[in-house]
């Protein structure tokens, strides 16, 4: 029986919120890092120029806005939304314009005394939470224009032009890069969540399909038996085939209730896994699997032939034994290297001296296993049941 965990269903492990939180932390880090780069130049900035109070105000506003933006990111567990981004941009533009007064022209690039330029770049990088491309474009465009106004006075000769162009291209290059990168991360996270939900739905549908298969035929048979029971004819007139089918369906329901590993489609080389896999193919048998002593027992090239032999033995049990209990036991031998697999049924049994083995036992079991050094013993008593033991002694 498949049971989905929270992690598998995605209820507690959605990727999108985690991606948004990571991006929010990135923006918070970006703003705090910019602030950290600004602060060593604070004293120098206050010491120069004649607008000391206004300069102090711009530094205070920039610091407060950077800290507030970082706090918003941490609290919301995502980057700032559109409203905050507009406010952030407006403040940055205001700082650039005030910088025209407070920052000498020669200090507007290449110096943290004129922090406005780098600050506006960090604001542009913080706009990744605005996912409407038109709004984002307008905000970045506003910042680029304000930054152009701030740095254009630098140009006094032709040699200054590349510096200004480079300043503006930095923002025009990095801001879109961050925005598209974040968009890609968010899309990947969203795809992961949708895939997880899809896998959970498939698993749930598969579980429902297995449940329906387990009870469908059984329900129909019970209806037949109940109908006949109402007529008082259950014991004497119910066709024996109906009872045989009823037993088969009962075993199928028991196998579903017992759960266990699903079929993987290839032969494992761990002996315990191999017998567990084979058991899943015989859910119509009243099969108990006892693999505990075989865990970690590694098979070599004999795995495929062993699996074929076990299937052949269990098909024989299905067709001939009429068993109410079948036990498939696997073990690593206790006193000598090697392993053994035992298939026991409590069915009709047979006289081993008088019975000629069919193709299944003779060819698929005895002939194919002996080249691997696997010995097959069959012990059966009419009325008691049959035990087939496959033993491989010695190191592989």
């Amino acid at each position: 029986m498949t049971v989905m965990t929270d992690a598998q269903t995605g209820t507690d492990a959605a990727t999108l919120p985690r991606a948004q939180r990571a991006i929010g932390l990135f923006v918070a880090g970006l703003r705090l890092a910019t602030l950290a780069q600004m602060l060593p130049s604070l004293v120098a900035a206050l010491d120069q120029g004649e607008h000391r109070a206004l300069t102090a105000l711009t530094w205070a506003v920039a610091s407060a806005m950077a800290l507030a933006t970082a706090a918003v990111c941490v609290v919301r567990r995502r980057p700032p939304g559109t409203a905050w981004a507009c406010l952030d941009t407006a403040v940055a533009v205001g700082l650039l314009f005030v910088g025209l007064v407070t920052v000498p022209v020669e200090l507007r690039t290449g110096s943290w005394i004129g922090f406005q330029s780098a600050y506006s770049l960090s604001v542009a990088g913080s706009l990744v939470g605005v996912r409407d491309v038109r709004i984002w474009g307008a905000l970045v465009g506003t910042l680029v224009a304000a930054r152009a106004v701030y740095v254009l006075p630098i140009i006094s000769t032709a040699a200054d032009v590349p510096t200004v162009v480079g300043e503006l291209f930095t923002m025009l290059g990095l801001a879109p890069l961050a925005w598209f990168g974040v968009g890609t991360v968010l899309r990947i996270a969203q795809d992961a969540d949708e895939s997880r939900a899809y896998a959970a739905r498939l698993a749930r549908e598969d579980e429902e399909r297995k449940a329906r298969a387990a009870i469908h035929n059984g329900t129909a048979l019970m209806k037949i038996l109940v109908d006949q029971g109402a007529l008082g004819a259950v014991d004497s007139r119910t066709p024996s085939q109906v009872w045989v089918q009823a037993a088969t369906e009962l075993n199928r329901m028991r196998a579903y209730l017992a759960g266990g590993p699903g079929q993987t489609g290839e032969e494992p080389h761990d002996l315990a896994e191999l017998v567990e896999n084979i058991a899943t193919e015989f859910t119509d048998l009243p099969l108990d699997v006892v693999p505990d002593l075989a865990r970690g027992t590694t098979l070599g090239a004999e795995a495929t032939d062993l699996a074929t032999a076990l299937r052949s033995i269990l098909i024989n049990v299905r067709q001939h034994a009429n068993a109410t209990r079948v036990v498939l036991h696997a073990e690593e031998l206790e006193d000598t290297p090697g392993w053994a697999v035992t298939v026991h049924d409590d069915g009709v049994g047979f006289d081993t001296r008088e019975t000629t083995y069919g193709v299944g036992i003779r060819t698929l079991t005895l002939d194919q296993l002996s080249p691997h050094g696997i010995e097959t013993t069959i012990d059966s008593v009419p009325g008691l049941g049959t035990t087939v033991t496959l033993t491989r002694e010695g190191d592989r």
């Binding site: 209730l257 505990d292 002593l293 970690g296 109410t324 079948v326 036990v327 036991h329």
Partner: protein, 231 residues
């Protein structure tokens, strides 16, 4: 020689929330003496019938009794009240069934067993014999093989190995050249040792012994707090 299957004067009481099971089991097993039947363990404990074995369904909660005790808590409570417990259930998961033994049940019997098998199993439990399907017996064999249960002698280990492979006493008798009653005696002796080990060991010990991952048994394994919840 005593017939191991004789019902004698063993008194059974049945606790099952399914009315059909309560009403029919005594009819289907006419030579067993059922002194009472109850829809819940609380009802059973209040009545305190004079029974030797309580046949206990594992799942007792339903719409009529949503707060009924069930599972290992119910087993603990019945054992603490002085009853020998045989769990009678549709539950097939072997770790869950093993946890019933760890909680103090003497046997676990599947409701899908034939009436003959069920009768034999109930009587075996009344004699104090551990009754479990081969899948659970295989777990016990693994614990013995890995030295966790150490006081078993050679014959007891042979009987355990045979039972884990699904062999009946009749089949074991042929291969070990011992009478069925002797084999039952070996099984009865090892039942006590195994029951004590299961009840005294932590899930972690058993996980390590069986090579399971940490926590694989915790969801199933009984704790005393489970029983306390009933108080």
């Amino acid at each position: 020689m005593t017939d191991p299957d004789q019902s004698s004067d063993v008194r059974f009481s049945l606790v099952d929330d399914a009315t059909a099971v309560r009403e029919s089991l005594a009819v289907l097993l006419p030579d067993l003496t059922f002194v009472s039947s109850h829809p819940s363990l609380e009802d059973f404990l209040a009545a305190a019938p004079r029974a030797d074995v309580v046949i206990l369904d594992l799942h007792l909660v339903n719409l009529r009794q949503p707060d009924a005790a069930q599972g290992v808590a119910a087993i603990h409570a019945a054992v603490d009240a002085g009853y020998r417990v045989c769990v009678y259930t549709q539950e097939e998961r072997r770790f869950v069934l093993a946890s019933c033994l760890a909680a103090g049940a003497t046997g676990v019997v599947s409701k899908s067993s034939t009436l003959a098998e069920t009768r034999t199993a109930f009587l075996a439990v009344s004699r104090g014999e551990l009754v479990a399907p081969p899948s659970v017996t295989g777990l016990i064999e693994a614990l013995v093989r890995r030295g966790r249960v150490t006081v078993l002698n050679k014959r007891q280990r042979e009987v355990l190995a045979g039972r884990a492979r699904g062999l009946t006493y009749a089949e074991l008798s042929r291969t070990l050249y011992l009478s069925e009653s002797t084999l039952r005696g070996y099984w009865r002796d090892l039942s006590g040792v195994v029951s004590s080990y299961l009840q005294d060991s932590s899930p972690g010990d058993i996980e390590r012994a069986l090579g399971l991952g940490p926590g694989d048994l915790v969801d199933h394994w009984p704790t005393r707090s489970a029983a306390d919840d009933l108080d």
